[in-house]
Symmetry: C2
Subunit: 211 residues, 2 copies
């Protein structure tokens, strides 16, 4: 096979595998693919040498649109606050569509991702990378003062986790809404700064020095 | 049995059931209790007429400290911002202890709670009730302006969900920390208000009226 042939066959097999997962609502492996397609096992092995290569290709397909979205938003000329909102909202709306279309299938994908989390982590790291770029842009404009990028990143990720976590989509979908996400983003822009502002209590008390 | 005897036996059986759950890392029912205690089934039935009554008693025990904590914090004379922090932090620290002591057991309780969520919901509603009281106190002091209590409630619950959701404890425990929770509470106090502030984009555009 040429590289182009292999890519085309790979796309075809990934689509087929995801159709099979949707139909059966069960994990699909290379054996299932071979049985379904009646294709020579050697052809499938050429595209997916290991079982995990099929899994990785499915994950890649699952996240492809998200990555395109994040790149588009980061590169856009929207005001920075709108960029933050769009960064989360566009992916959230697509995930919610997937969830609503077939909640059981969505739950299966969540479970598959949880079980092989180390193979999904790269995509989460990539989202962190793009979000860090947005944070740097926001800080250039004076938002999120007195915070390192990593600190702002972890706090922002935690505050919007409802709109990013597929596990929470399964539990909370009814309570999630774009206008709430917007209110949370606005709250971050108005209120997220470094320094202790009183919630955690009195800090840095010093012993009275005796002269 | 007198009511006092029944209460004492109930406490004893709940403690025993939870010990058994911890030992076996499996759900424990009335049959298991009867086998373990060699107690007459009729005595167990008197305390727990239905299978769900045992479950409810375990849930009640699980949440007892949390309810005491919430009542204490709401009634305290702490500054309002501190109250918010303590309201979440004290329960979070206790949950994290439970999780760290035995992650598999914690996961089992999360699963038990998810499967009978309608029997746990009352405790979540109670937490919402106490949080609503705190929000009213905060609004009296001028925080969270231009928001109904319910709207502030849903936004705050979403922003601190990492520190409240047992499902997220299972996934994110390493990334959770009291100082991050404090930063999120401070962010809410500084930035959570009603009204559109730009994240969601241009709203309320009107058609130009032709005179």
């Amino acid at each position: 096979m040429t590289a182009a042939d292999r890519d085309a066959l790979k796309r075809e097999l990934v689509t087929l595998a995801m159709d099979m997962i949707a139909r059966r609502c069960a994990v699909v492996g290379k054996n299932d693919l071979a049985a379904e397609t009646r294709m020579a096992r050697s052809r499938i092995d050429e595209v997916f040498p290991e079982e995990d290569d099929l899994f990785d290709a499915i994950v890649e397909h699952w996240y492809a649109d998200d990555i395109a979205t994040m790149e588009e938003v980061v590169a856009s000329s929207l005001p920075i606050r709108r960029k933050f909102y769009e960064f989360f909202a566009r992916r959230f709306v697509r995930e919610r569509e997937r969830y609503r279309k077939d909640p059981a299938l969505f739950a299966l994908y969540v479970q598959m991702g949880s079980e092989k989390f180390e193979r999904v982590r790269g995509y989460i790291d990539l989202a962190d990378h793009y979000l860090s770029e947005l944070i740097a842009q926001a800080q250039d404009e004076g938002f999120f003062p007195d915070l390192t990028i990593d600190r702002a990143l972890t706090l922002i990720n935690q505050m919007v986790v409802c709109y990013v976590s597929p596990q929470l989509m399964l539990i909370l979908e009814e309570r999630l809404a774009e206008d709430k996400l917007a209110a949370i983003v606005d709250t971050m822009f108005a209120g997220l700064t470094g320094g202790d502002r009183g919630a955690a209590g009195v800090k840095g008390l010093r012993a009275i020095s005796v002269q």
